[in-house]
Every structure is written in C-alpha cells, then in structure tokens.
C-alpha cells in the first residue's frame, strides 16, 4: 500500500463527499462542535487557572511568609487586656532562630510596618511605611522604575530614605521626578531614592506588598518611630507592641520548602504561647491551584468528550447508511478485483477525511470562541497548544473508530450478493 494510493483514496473520498454536500455537512457538524467545545472549555479552564498560578508565583514559590496576627480575644489573659498595651507577634529572635536553625533557609527578611500620614508639597496620603532590609527587593521581585532600591549602605548610614511605589507616587501627583525629593512621612523628612512598580493584587491570593507602600531601612524606622504602634480601633485607641509584622523566608530549593515550613511551625509553637502568627506557603497554594485546575479540566474535558462521542456516533450512523446505499458499488469493486482490505481502507479514508475536515473547522471555531468570551465577558482564556493537538487527534480517532464497523460490514459482503443488490 503506497502513500500515493492513500492520497488517491482520500481524493476519491473527498469527491464523493462533495457530491453529497448536505450529508457530509451534517456528519461533520457533530465533530465540529465536539472539537470546538473541547478547545473552548479547556481554554476557559486554563485561563482561570493560569491567572491564579501567576498570582501565586508572584509570591515566589521558594518563599515562606510569616505574618503576625492578633491572637483570639479569649486567649488573652485578663491582666494584659486591662493594660492598654497589646503585646504579640513575631519577635526579632524568631527571625534569628529561623535563619540559624532551620535547614534549607537561605535568608530571612524582617518586616515592620505602620500607617503614616505622608505629605508631598500640598498632597496628603496615608502610606504604609514598610521597614525592612535590602533583601526585600530580591524576594518580592518588583521591577524598578526609577532611582534605586535600598542598599546595605542605607542600613548602616541610617539616613531617612525611602522607596515609593508607582501607585504611591502617582497618588502624590508625582512622577519619576520625585526621586531625590523630600517627602514628609509621619512628620519626618524622608528622601525618595527610587520608585518600584507594584502589582495589583487581584483575587484571593494575598501578596506581601500593598500598592501604598513606602520602603525604608529597618534601623531608620526603629530609631525614628520606636517599636510601639498606636492603632485606632472602633471607638478607642489601643497601643500595640508588635516587633515584626512579617518575616519573609527564602528556601534553597523547592523540595525543601515544605519540610522547612513544618520545622518553622514546630519551632514557633515552642516559643509562642499563643497563636499570634500565621504561616503562608505559596508553594502549597500553588499545588492546591494545580489540583483544582486538573479537576476542573477533567470535568470540562469529559463534558466536551461526550459531545465528541455524539459526533462519532453521527459519523457511524451515516457511514452505515452509506454502506447499505453503496452495497452494489462494493460488489462491483470486488468483482473488478478489489481486496477486502481495499474496501475497508476506502471507507476508513472517507470517514477519516470527514472527521478530519470536521476537526479542522472545529479547530478554527474552537480558537474563535475563547477570543469571543474574553472580548465579551473579560474572562481570561488561554488555549494551550496541546489542547489543539489533543482535540484534533481525538476527532480523527473517533472518525476511524466509528468508521471501522461500517467498513468491516462493507468488506464482509459476499461479492455476488453485493452485485445482485439493487
């Protein structure tokens, strides 16, 4: 069997179909919609999960984030409740212990923050002053727009310098020219040394940074503002002593992330009487999102698969009808000298061509639907290249599988019986 003959068989099948346009059209319709729905559904599923994954990966898959949190009220001893100072959260010692004793930890970044009224010329804005170390900018990777980020030099010189976000600068009605200018943060004059781009943290995933951050060296903040924060709560004002609001932990490799997270939790439980901290593991979120995505894809995929199956049954139906209709033709071909395998091949090629054409139209339609969805509803969609390959090969496979039975029926016919058929 040569490739040239297959080609001629395919051409013959094609010609035959052109003579039965309506029949061919109806047959392929099932495959067209099957393929299109597989692609469209996978694109919607992939689009949603990609967005989630992107957000999570911005947190850094090798990072762990520890947050301080106010412990539940009922665990507070009565004595400390009456005193105005609430004492909780992550300690400087915690950071040191994590860095020194947890295996796999590359570095840690301490973070302290407070809300401060900020003035630039006559513009006022409430910023979150984030006191941290230069390592912050390595772990929370945000593009630098102008100037520079914090350096080790800033840590030792203890001058009041800060890095603004693009959003913060815009809210102060300033562009990149604000670099080098003085802004007043909590009545302390800070020199702006750089601007970073901030990420809009959309969705359920929490990023460690906010759009209204201003970054400053940790020693500067402690020197100027102390360790006690005044928080305005409903009706009253409370004072809090929270040494660190956040500790970012970078782990050497992905494999060590989860063991390190467990070790950190065990250690913190020993040193903290109350649950005044929270550990967030982006990698775990990532895994969870992957699992959700897989489930989602399987559900959508099987719905679409059923429509492909229906398309296949349609093809089988038409091919069976065509075998009956063409019994005499089969008899003639056999009398001329066609082998059984020639007849099988002829019918198989015809169904393959039918489902192949249906598949191609389905591909085009399937690529258009996600574009339309995004255009009309703004829902993110993404067509993974493998989904095109998958749905197309499934459609051809279905054509072959469902075409096989009619083809075998056709070849089984006795040539004399077939010739007598009217």
């Amino acid at each position: 069997m040569t490739a040239a003959r297959l080609l001629r068989l395919a051409r013959m099948g094609l010609k035959d179909m052109l003579r039965h346009k309506m029949r061919a059209f109806l047959t392929t319709l099932g495959v067209v919609f099957g393929v299109a729905s597989v692609i469209a559904m996978l694109a919607v599923g992939e689009g949603a999960s990609r967005q989630a994954l992107l957000q999570i990966s911005r947190l850094g898959a090798r990072n762990l984030i520890l947050y301080s949190q106010k412990p539940a009220a009922d665990t507070q001893p009565a004595a400390s409740q009456s005193s105005m100072l609430a004492l909780y959260g992550l300690q400087y010692e915690d950071e040191l212990r994590i860095r020194e004793s947890i295996p796999g930890v590359v570095r840690t970044v301490p973070v302290r923050w407070m809300r401060k009224e900020t003035w630039y010329r006559d513009r006022k804005l409430e910023l979150r002053l984030v006191a941290t170390t230069p390592d912050w900018f390595d772990l929370v990777n945000r593009p630098l727009l102008a100037g520079r980020v914090l350096t080790a030099d800033d840590m030792t010189r203890r001058e009041p310098v800060c890095v603004l976000t693009e959003y913060g600068a815009r809210r102060l009605l300033a562009g990149t020219e604000i670099v080098g200018e003085i802004v007043s943060i909590g009545n302390v004059p800070f020199r702006v040394v750089g601007i970073v781009r901030n990420e809009e943290s959309a969705g359920a995933v929490q990023t460690p940074d906010l759009p209204t951050d201003a970054y400053t060296p940790l020693p500067v903040c402690r020197e100027r503002f102390g360790d006690i924060t005044v928080v305005a709560e409903t009706g009253s004002r409370a004072m809090e002593l929270v040494p660190l609001h956040q500790i970012l932990v970078e782990i050497r490799s992905l494999e060590e992330v989860e063991p390190a997270a467990r070790a950190i939790e065990t250690m913190l439980r020993r040193f903290h009487k109350r649950e005044d901290y929270r550990l967030s593991v982006p990698l775990a979120l990532l895994r969870e999102a992957e699992t959700t995505r897989r489930t989602f894809n399987i559900v959508l995929g099987s719905i679409a698969g059923i429509s492909l199956l229906v398309g296949g049954i349609g093809i089988m139906n038409i091919m069976l009808a065509s075998v009956t209709e063409r019994t005499r033709e089969i008899g003639i071909r056999r009398a001329i000298g066609a082998r059984r395998s020639h007849i099988i091949l002829q019918f198989l090629v015809e169904t393959s061509v039918l489902s192949g054409i249906g598949g191609i139209i389905g591909l085009a339609l399937g690529m258009m639907i996600p574009l339309l969805i995004t255009r009309l509803s703004g829902m993110p969609t993404y067509i993974p290249p493998w989904s095109l390959l998958l749905s197309f090969s499934i459609s051809v496979l279905i054509g072959i599988v469902f075409g096989l039975y009619p083809a075998l029926q056709a070849a089984r016919l006795d040539p004399i019986e077939a010739l007598r058929h009217e």
């Binding site: 040569t2 003959r5 008899g331 003639i332 071909r333 001329i336 000298g337």
Partner: protein, 230 residues
Amino acid sequence: MTDTVIRLESVVKIYRIGTVDVPALRGISLEFLRGSFTAIMGPSGSGKSTLLNVIGCLDRPTSGRYFLEGRDVAGLDDNARSDLRLHHLGFVFQSFNLIPQLTVLENVELPLFYQDIPPTESRQRALEMLEMVGLSDRTHHRPVELSGGQQQRAAIARALTTNPSFILADEPTGNLDSATGQQIMELLANLHQRGRTIVMVTHEPDIAAWAKRRVLMRDGLVHAIQDSIP
C-alpha cells in the same frame, strides 16, 4: 496455441437457502482452450450464471477442482481470488455495473488503481481503451448520461484496461436493443480475434451464434456441446 487454459473437474456448487440445499451445479467437467469463444446457454435456473461466477473466481465450488492456466484455484482464499480477478479476468455484466458517481474515465481507470499503477500511466491506458471502444468524447460524463450501448462499451473498456487473458460476459446484450447488441457483439468478436479467451452466458440463440462453441446447460449439468464447423 491450443492449450487448455480453463479446466473444470466435476465441479459442484450447492447453495444453502435456510435449511434447504439447492444444487446449482451438479458435477460439471469442461475444458476451454486458449483463445476460444464459448457461449454458455440454457434456460434460467440451469446454473449458467453460477458456472460463470465459478470460472470468474467470484464464487467457490462446493466440491470439484478448477484449474486456471494450470493452477488449481478452487481452494484459494479471498485475497488470492481477488488478485486473479484483478490481473487475469475481465467482467462484462448485463446491467453494465459502472459506478454511478464516477466518470466514465474514472470507471475505466478503477482496476488500474487497485493494481497500484501510477495515475498518469493509468489515465493514458484508460484513454486508449476508451478510444478503442469509441468513447473518446464521453470520458468525463457520468454513466447515467450515456446510452445503454455506450455504457456497455465503457464497461468493456474497463474490463480490458488490465489487459486480461479472459473476458467473462454475463448476458452482455440483455439490456440492449438488437442493433446495439450487434455492435457489442462485434466488439467482443474483435477481441476474440485478437486472441482473448471469451466465455459468455446468454439465452439468445442469435447472440450465441457469434461464439465458436456453445455449451448447453440444463438443471446444473452440461446437456450438450456444439462446435461450429471451422
């Protein structure tokens, strides 16, 4: 040149219809020489078409032996019989049996397609055959657009494209008026003159008269054999 190319030895063919065995051939022994022109005659139900189908390797005898060019073909499997039909036998049917959705040219090319002949060569050969039967101006018509005689000529062209040694014709003029039938018979006689072995089934004596030898059948048996005086 007078060697035996078809030899049947006590060929029996029994059809099973439901639970009843219906004998169509009840022991036929016949020989056909190379280049002979034989007509098989007999009333309907005498088994003449069954005999032609056995000779044409479309049907297998229930018992008995069948030698085609010295080769025992009675026991061959389906593929081998297909290949014999493809390379050595050409069929001409009463109802022409052209494939309606193919053009005349495509119909004539069909056996060459199964022989895996390259398209340009097979086109060339099919056109030559169509010219020989006088249908050069009808190559791209569909069979329904042709008269009965033209259709039969196309069918003969199709039977001839593979250059087979045997032409098997089953009532070739049965669906034609006598004038057209005359033309078809002239064509067959012409092929006989060129050395082809022809076996033709007919029940019309004036058609059978074209053959050099007549086999009369009755009830699945050879009743008589008439040879024309050379």
